[in-house]
Amino acid sequence: MNAFEVVAAGPMTLVQDGGRPGLAHLGVGASGAFDRGAARLANRLVGNRSGAAVLEVLVGGLEIRFDSDAWVAVTGAWGPITAMGAVEPHTPTLVPAGRTLRIGTAEHGIRWYLAVRGGIAANPVLDSRSRDTLAALGPAPLAEGDRVLVGGDIEGPVPGIDLVPVDPPADGPVRISVRPGPRADWFSSDAWSLMLESAWTTSPRSDRTGIRLEGPTLERARTGELPSEGMIPGAIQVSPDGVPTILGVDAPVTGGYPVLAVVTDGSLDALAQLRPGQPVRFTLATGRS
């Protein structure tokens, strides 16, 4: 069985797979890869099953050295990747035994996905190898000196392709599509149009539990406390001081702040790649859902 050593872990490198959907009634969130599309593509490029565990690398700085030759693919964020020479993103790449694969600092987007052929073989918890950073469930974040085993989550051969042409994550304003949430009536009539018309900025205090936004204050029409209710990733909660937070994949399964709007499924992956300071605009999704 192949394995690799963590030479440098970077600010935060997590094991992630498809997560734990369906356990929210027991207080367990879905967790899983934040940018699902990028994780899926990385697995596909090395012939893994779609649910194989990958590494989610925040910002960069990961260096790993394999015992044996290993097929890898890197997706998500863009920036320098090296193993001897430069490694192309979105390309199946064979890293020879003993060579160090280095993921540099992300220049576009903020979360890289590194798939290794066979998947990461950490111990599953509740049928998932995802690290839930809020509930502290699943494999611990990678640390320097860790030895990590590669598994056997293989679906087929490494596809014979040179490169998948994928656009880099956007640098400018990111358009996030939303639909109405359950508590729009808790806000002033201005709040809804203010949300859709304002230029928002991604706060540096954003993580897998939530993307905090800086911008105008969304005034409430009602004060008082809302009994806690179920939440999902993408729900836009507004705290009593009028600041919106888009819930991420590790958010609590229930919450007591009113939800003004909910990000559509198709826009969720883009949340994972928002960089601190990056502008965000909301668009109302039209058509039947």
Binding site: G22, H25, V28, G181, P182, M231, G234, T254, S289
Partner: protein, 205 residues
């Protein structure tokens, strides 16, 4: 019941009371359609999360309207969980004083009533238990403890509950149990699920 929008893959059903919510959750759980991802009960609501490719939101709304509480009574009876408690919590005297009763009366009422798990939240396996017949309503502590040990039994608002793991917490602690409420290595990791009935028994101090 009101059905509120919740984006493109969920709707929120809202009820008038905690007991109506528990009843609706039990009935909904007993008749889940294909394409339902999960039901998340809370104090006044049940969040209905769907795969809209299989169960479109309109169909989920129709399903919510078609299920009547009581429909599930033909099904299996709710599970009853018994938890042995040593009533020696740090806030036991305060809680009794807040309720205007003696410690012995508090223990008699906590063990004498049947509790229902309304929902699980705050942390994996943390069950919010309520009693329709004899709730013990006390406010949360004015200051939260940074570390409440696993197995601590507490009261807060209209709820009683057991901390499944060590965590910060502001509930009034009345006792402790050796029962394991949460074990992530098990197929059924939570000892108490929404809709379950719970009885507490007193262990000699």
């Amino acid at each position: 019941m009101r059905i509120l929008p919740f984006g493109d893959r969920a709707v929120l059903a809202e009820y008038d009371s905690l007991s109506a919510t528990i009843g609706a959750y039990r009935a909904l759980s007993a008749s889940t359609p294909r394409g339902l991802v999960e039901l998340v009960p809370a104090a006044r609501t049940v969040l209905v999360r769907v795969d809209p490719q299989v169960l479109p939101l309109d169909a989920a709304r129709r399903w919510l309207l078609s299920v009547r509480p009581g429909d599930e009574l033909d099904g299996p009876l709710p599970t009853t969980v018994t938890i042995a408690v040593t009533y020696d919590g740090e806030d036991l005297d305060d809680a009794a004083r807040l309720l205007g009763i003696t410690v012995d009366e508090l223990i008699a009422r906590h063990t004498g009533t049947e509790w229902t798990c309304a929902f699980v939240g705050f942390a994996p396996g943390f069950a919010y238990l309520t009693s329709a017949s004899d709730p013990l309503v006390v406010p949360r502590r004015s200051t939260s403890r940074p570390a409440v040990p696993a197995g601590s039994v507490g009261l807060a608002g209209e709820f009683t509950g057991v901390y499944p793991r060590e965590s910060p917490g502001g509930w009034q602690l009345i006792g402790r149990t050796d029962a394991v409420l949460w074990d992530a290595t098990k197929d059924f990791p939570a000892r108490i699920s929404p809709g379950d009935l719970v009885r507490f028994t007193a262990v000699d101090r």
